[in-house]
C-alpha cells in the first residue's frame, strides 16, 4: 500500500481540493483538509476494505498565531495496523470560532485526547460527550499552550535574546 494510493482514493472520493499540502515526513504521509471533511474522511479511511485506518494513535492541537483565519490546528495521527501505515491529517480553524467535529463516535480513544486539546488550546469539539478540562484545574480561565502565554518570567534580564546574538 503506497501513500500515493491513499491520496488518490481520498481525492477520488472527496474531490481534488479536499486534500492539499501533501508531504511526507520520514515515510509518514501528511496532508491538510477542511474541518468539514474530517469526520467523513476518517469514516472512509476506517471502513475502507484495504486501508483500515482503525487505530487512532494521537491527536495534537497546535497554535500558529500568524496564520490569520487558521490559527488553531488539530493533527490526527491514525494508524492502519494491518498495513502498518501511519497517516497525519491536519485541519485548521480560526481562533475566534475554533470548532472541530468530535471523532469520539469513531474512536473511543479520542475522548481524552480532545479534552486535552480543549484544555490547552481552547479547541471546541462539537458533539463531544464531556468537553471539560482534564489536566488543568477547572477554575482556569485561559488555555495555556497558546503562544501568547510566554513561559518564562518576562522581567528576567539575563535571558534577553540579543545578549546571545539571537
Amino acid at each position: 500500500m503506497e501513500n500515493q494510493q491513499i491520496t488518490d482514493a481520498l481525492q477520488a472520493q472527496f474531490g481534488a481540493d479536499a486534500v492539499y499540502g501533501v508531504t511526507e515526513s520520514h515515510g509518514i504521509l501528511q496532508f491538510t483538509t477542511g474541518v468539514d471533511n474530517i469526520v467523513p474522511m476518517l469514516h472512509f479511511l476506517y471502513a475502507h476494505p484495504e486501508f483500515k485506518f482503525q487505530f487512532l494513535t494521537d491527536l495534537a492541537g497546535i497554535h500558529f498565531p500568524d496564520a490569520k483565519g487558521q490559527e488553531l490546528g488539530v493533527i490526527y495521527h491514525v494508524h492502519s495496523l494491518e498495513n502498518n501505515v501511519r497517516l497525519m491529517i491536519k485541519a485548521y480553524a480560526p481562533i475566534d470560532a475554533p470548532h472541530f467535529p468530535t471523532i469520539t463516535g469513531l474512536y473511543a480513544a479520542a475522548n481524552w485526547m480532545e479534552r486535552e486539546a480543549f484544555d490547552f488550546y481552547g479547541i471546541l469539539f462539537d458533539g463531544h460527550p464531556n468537553l471539560t478540562r482534564i489536566l488543568n484545574m477547572d477554575e482556569m480561565d485561559y488555555h495555556p499552550m497558546r503562544k501568547e502565554y510566554p513561559l518564562e518570567d518576562a522581567t528576567r534580564h539575563d535571558k534577553i535574546d540579543e545578549l546571545f546574538g539571537r
Binding site: L56, A60, A108, W112, I134, N136, L151, G165
Partner: protein
C-alpha cells in the same frame, strides 16, 4: 458470621424490591483516591456504588500535571531529556532514548551500531524494571507480599546498572543525541552478566509462587477484561493490548535501534483480563532477558556515539584543553544551535505501550510544538468500562494490572 450478628444487621431481611424503604436502591459515592495506597499514584476515581457493586466511575486526573509540553517549547532540545524521564518513571531510559531517537531523526544523525545495541540493552533493562514493578505490585494487591520481595531486589540491582551508566537511579537522563554518554564500564558489563545469570531463578521463584496460585488466579481471572475490538478502539497499546490477543509491538512492527537484529517473541493473551495482562508481562520479561543476552553477546566494537559535534556534548577534559570542544560545549549548553525545520513522529515500545513523540520544529533552538503520546493516558480512559458491574476489590487489581503511572498520565 454468627446468627446473632445477622439478626442485629438492619439490612438483613429487608425486601429490596419494596419502594420507599430506607435501603432501597440507594447508591453511595466512594472516593478512590487521589491519595489511596492502591492507586500507586495521585489520581482519583469517584465510584458510584450499589452496595459492593460498581455502577459508575468517573476519573479525575491531572494532580501532578507539570506542563512538560509547554516547558519544552522554551527549552533547547537536550534539556528536554530530563522532562521525559519524569513521565513513566518506572522505565525512564526508554523515554530518554525515545526522545533522543526522535531528535536524531530530525537532525539526520546516524547512530553507530554499538550505541544502538547499548541502547537496546538499557531499554530492555528498563522494561524489566517496569514489568517487575507492575507484576509484583499486582501480587501485593492481591495479598502476596513475599513474591514482591523476591523480584524487587533485582529492580534495585538494575538501578545499580543505571547508576553505572549515568550516575542516576530513577530520573536517569541517560544517553545523548547521537549515542550514549559513556561506554559500558567493566562493572556494568559484569553486573549485566550477573543479572542474566541470576534473575531467571528469582523470576521462576516468583512465578512458582504466584502464577498457578489458586487465590491469585481466582482474584485475577475474568476480572477487568476487555475485548480486542474495544481495546483497539480505546487506543490500547503495549502489554494491555497484547493481553487481548493483538500482536502489536512497535519493536517488531517498526524496528528502531537495531531491534530487527534480535530474535524475540511477542507474547499475546486471549481474554484481555487481569490474569492475561500479568502473564503477558511475565513472558515479556523472559523475552527481554533473551534480547539482552543476544545484545551483550554480539555487542559490536566501535564508537559509542555518533560524530556529531554540534549536538553531542564533548568530553569534559577536552573542554578544558581544546578550543573547539569549548566552543561546542558552550553552544550546546546555552542552546545556541538551531535545529532544521521539520516534522517528526517517532514511537518506541515503552513499558506500557507505544510511547510517541510528535515534534514540530520551526528551525529554532527549541521545538515549536512537542506532543508526547503517553500510552497510559490513552488506555486509562477505558477503566470505567472495564470495572462496571464488578466489585471494588476487582477494580483495585484491574487498575494495578493496567500499570497506570501518574507521571505518565499527567505529563
Amino acid at each position: 458470621m454468627s446468627e446473632v450478628a445477622l439478626v442485629n444487621n438492619p439490612n438483613v431481611g429487608l425486601d429490596k424490591t419494596q419502594k420507599g424503604g430506607p435501603y432501597v436502591n440507594e447508591l453511595s459515592t466512594l472516593n478512590l483516591g487521589p491519595t489511596h495506597p492502591a492507586t500507586h499514584g495521585i489520581f482519583q476515581n469517584i465510584l458510584t456504588m450499589d452496595g459492593e457493586t460498581i455502577v459508575d466511575a468517573e476519573q479525575t486526573v491531572g494532580y501532578i500535571h507539570r506542563a512538560f509540553e509547554k516547558i519544552a517549547e522554551r527549552r533547547p532540545f537536550y534539556q528536554i531529556t530530563t522532562l521525559t524521564d519524569r513521565m513513566n518513571y518506572c522505565s525512564a531510559p526508554i523515554n530518554n532514548m525515545g526522545w533522543h531517537m526522535t531528535v536524531e531523526k530530525l537532525l539526520g544523525i546516524e547512530v553507530p551500531k554499538r550505541a544502538q545495541y547499548m541502547r537496546v540493552i538499557m531499554m530492555e533493562l528498563a522494561r524489566l524494571t517496569d514489568h517487575i514493578v507492575c507484576n509484583s505490585i499486582l501480587a501485593v494487591d492481591t495479598g502476596a507480599l513475599t513474591g514482591f520481595l523476591y523480584v524487587y531486589q533485582w529492580r534495585e540491582f538494575i538501578y545499580e546498572i543505571y547508576e553505572e551508566m549515568c550516575g542516576a537511579r530513577l530520573t536517569t537522563n541517560m544517553g545523548r543525541f547521537g549515542g550514549m554518554e559513556r561506554d559500558f564500564t567493566p562493572v556494568a558489563i559484569e553486573k549485566i552478566h550477573k543479572l542474566l545469570k541470576e534473575l531467571p531463578a528469582a523470576l521462576k521463584e516468583f512465578e512458582g509462587m504466584v502464577m498457578r496460585n489458586r487465590i491469585f488466579m481466582d482474584r485475577t481471572q475474568n476480572v477487568g477484561g476487555i475485548s480486542a475490538e474495544r481495546a483497539l478502539n480505546y487506543g490500547f497499546t503495549g502489554p494491555n493490548l497484547r493481553a487481548t490477543g493483538v500482536d502489536y509491538d512497535v519493536r517488531a512492527m517498526n524496528p528502531y535501534s537495531s531491534y530487527e537484529d534480535f530474535e524475540f517473541d511477542v507474547p499475546v493473551g486471549t481474554k484481555g483480563d487481569t490474569y492475561d495482562r500479568f502473564l503477558v508481562r511475565e513472558e515479556e520479561m523472559w523475552q527481554s532477558l533473551r534480547i539482552i543476552q543476544q545484545a551483550i553477546d554480539n555487542l559490536p566494537e566501535g564508537p559509542y556515539h555518533a560524530d556529531a559535534p554540534h549536538y553531542y556534548l564533548p568530553k569534559k577534559q577536552d573542554v578544558y584543553h581544546n578550543m573547539e570542544a569549548l566552543i561546542y560545549h558552550f553552544k550546546i549548553v546555552m542552546g545556541e544551535i538551531d535545529a532544521p525545520v521539520g516534522e517528526v513522529y517517532h514511537s518506541v515500545e515503552g513499558g506500557n505501550g507505544e510511547l510517541g513523540f510528535y515534534l514540530v520544529s520551526d528551525g529554532g533552538r527549541t521545538p515549536y510544538r512537542l506532543k508526547f503520546r503517553r500510552p497510559g493516558y490513552i488506555y486509562y480512559q477505558a477503566f470505567p468500562e472495564m470495572i462496571k458491574g464488578t466489585s471494588l476489590s476487582d477494580a483495585i487489581v484491574t487498575m494495578s494490572s493496567m500499570n497506570v503511572i501518574a507521571g505518565e498520565l499527567d505529563t
